[in-house]
Amino acid sequence: MTNATKNRLIDKTFLMFGILATLFGIVILCIFIGNIFADGISRLSFDFLESLPSRKPEKAGILTAWTGTLWILGLTTLVAFPLGVGAGIYLEEYAKKGWLSNILEINIANLAGVPSIIYGLLGLEIFVRVMGLGGSLLAGSFTLSLLILPIIIVSTREAIKAVPKSIKEAAFALGATKWQAIWSQILPASMGGILTGVILSISRAIGETAPLIVVGALAYVPFVAKSPMDEFTVLPIQIFNWVSRPQHGFIVNAAAAILILLSITFVMNGIAVYLRNRWQKKVKW
């Protein structure tokens, strides 16, 4: 065998490995979802969505869990969206290059790498104890907002960076102030990218379990939360609780709840991808 044929053989072999490895990830994902589908689809019903938690698996439902998840979704968006976009605008448009902006940048990169459970400890001490919010929806959403802030800031900055300078300069030439240029030119032009980042980060917050457990979300909540100060549970915590029980009925419930959680996650990711593609096509400079 000559060197050339040997090299070509190695090349072809690696090609096979590459295809296999790529498909491996996809196949595993399909096995995951197939498995959970097989376990949980029989349990999915309006009854399951409308029932309170119970000791008996056949009677237990996820009403408190999915309403809790919706509360968290709403409150976290309300807090994190303005803060994150505001910080992104400041860093991209206002901050002067120098030690201050350097520190802010290093700091945000570092925050993005802090494990989510550490945010839970932060929330436990600051929001639950010092601010006296207890294990409430508000404490949970504040904690999750801090967790996703770095993601929103980074995607906001990238979206703003993609808007050409000429747009801003044209606005200035017409006598616009800085904020007028940002508000009526730069933000509308970068909204697609910003929204994509916000939706992706919120979908991450929806799936978070650990920080909320630390903050004090409960596994068993027998009522639907009515105000942001109420105690709460969310879908991932309900799933965690059911997975750790020995009875098979609860495993089936967990699988059914996972199907709901995954649908929410995938729909949000789908919207984000759709927005990204639409804006990329529509906006051509």
Partner: protein
């Protein structure tokens, strides 16, 4: 009128950005204050050298080593799964695959990272563990092997996507020079593009490591809750993160020693990920734009 409005808006936006700094300061302060309280009752030497971690038992030991060992063991298993697969995917997608294929499969793989981790925990405990028990009948239902493997699958996209970005950014001219001298795609990839993109690849690996160390729900569900100083992947262990969850699930009164242990564990975790993040940040700053 306009001027004051502009000024107020700028200040408000600055406050938004400043919140991130407050967050970091609060994290460090909270962890430090509670950990200092902990170390007033437990000597730091015991904490670092004792081989047992039993703060919830009558016979209390406060050695962090079993938790650190559990964390590193699951992380090692995870990276052993994710590194070869993720890197192969990255090289395949950037050097071999047709453009259309890359455009479809890259986002598809990123779905793996978007799945909530509690779902992975379900999978590790109820699918992967029973499957592995067919091969290792004596293996416990809770073990670090299945948790580690599933965690590895979860972090594949961190390595594949970020490494692929780095490989893709290597200038075409380098590849063309290698092809011109008769190299195969394999030779070009491993002798030219991978070395050229090595800093980006290393950064992706470090980020994946840091993610694995901080991962909580998979190990809390599937690895057991028994702190144990062992490298045996078939027995139940406990990681730092799983311990924090275990304590938080129970009713631990504020100010008690048990309450402080989760902050002592937390600060240990924070130190690990902080070091890893800063290494990756340093590499990124120092080696980027080498070819521009």
């Amino acid at each position: 009128m306009n001027k004051t409005r502009e000024y107020i808006i700028e200040r408000l936006l600055f406050l938004c950005a400043a919140i991130t700094v407050f967050t970091t300061i609060s994290i460090i302060l909270v962890l430090l204050v509670e950990a200092v309280g902990f170390f007033q009752e437990v000597s730091i030497i015991d904490f670092l050298t004792d081989k047992e971690w039993t703060p919830l038992f009558a016979d209390k030991h406060f050695g962090i080593l079993p938790l650190v060992c559990g964390t590193l063991l699951t992380t090692f298993i995870a990276i052993s799964v994710a590194l070869p697969i993720g890197l192969t995917i990255a090289i395949y997608l950037s050097e071999y695959a047709p453009k259309s294929f890359r455009k479809i499969f890259k986002p598809l793989l990123e779905v793996l990272a978007a799945v909530p981790t509690v779902v992975y925990g379900f999978f590790a405990l109820l699918v992967v563990s029973p499957f592995l028990q067919k091969f290792f009948p004596e293996m416990s239902g809770f073990n670090s092997l299945s948790a580690g493997i599933v965690m590895g699958i979860m972090i594949i996209p961190f390595i594949s996507s970020l490494s692929e970005d780095a490989l893709y950014a290597v200038p075409k001219s380098l590849r063309e020079a290698a092809y011109g001298m008769g190299s195969t795609r394999f030779q070009t990839a491993f002798k030219v593009t991978v070395p050229a993109a090595s800093s980006g690849i290393v950064v992706s690996i470090i980020l994946a490591l840091s993610r694995a160390i901080g991962e909580t729900m998979i190990v809390a569900i599937a690895a057991g809750q028994q702190p144990r100083l062992t490298l045996d992947p078939t027995v139940p262990i406990e990681t730092i993160t799983a311990y924090i969850v275990q304590v938080s699930m129970g009713d631990v009164p504020h100010g008690s020693l048990e309450y402080k242990t989760i902050f002592a564990a937390g600060i240990t975790l924070f130190v690990f990920t902080f070091i890893l993040n800063n290494i990756s940040f340093y590499i990124k700053k120092k080696y980027q734009e080498k070819y521009d």
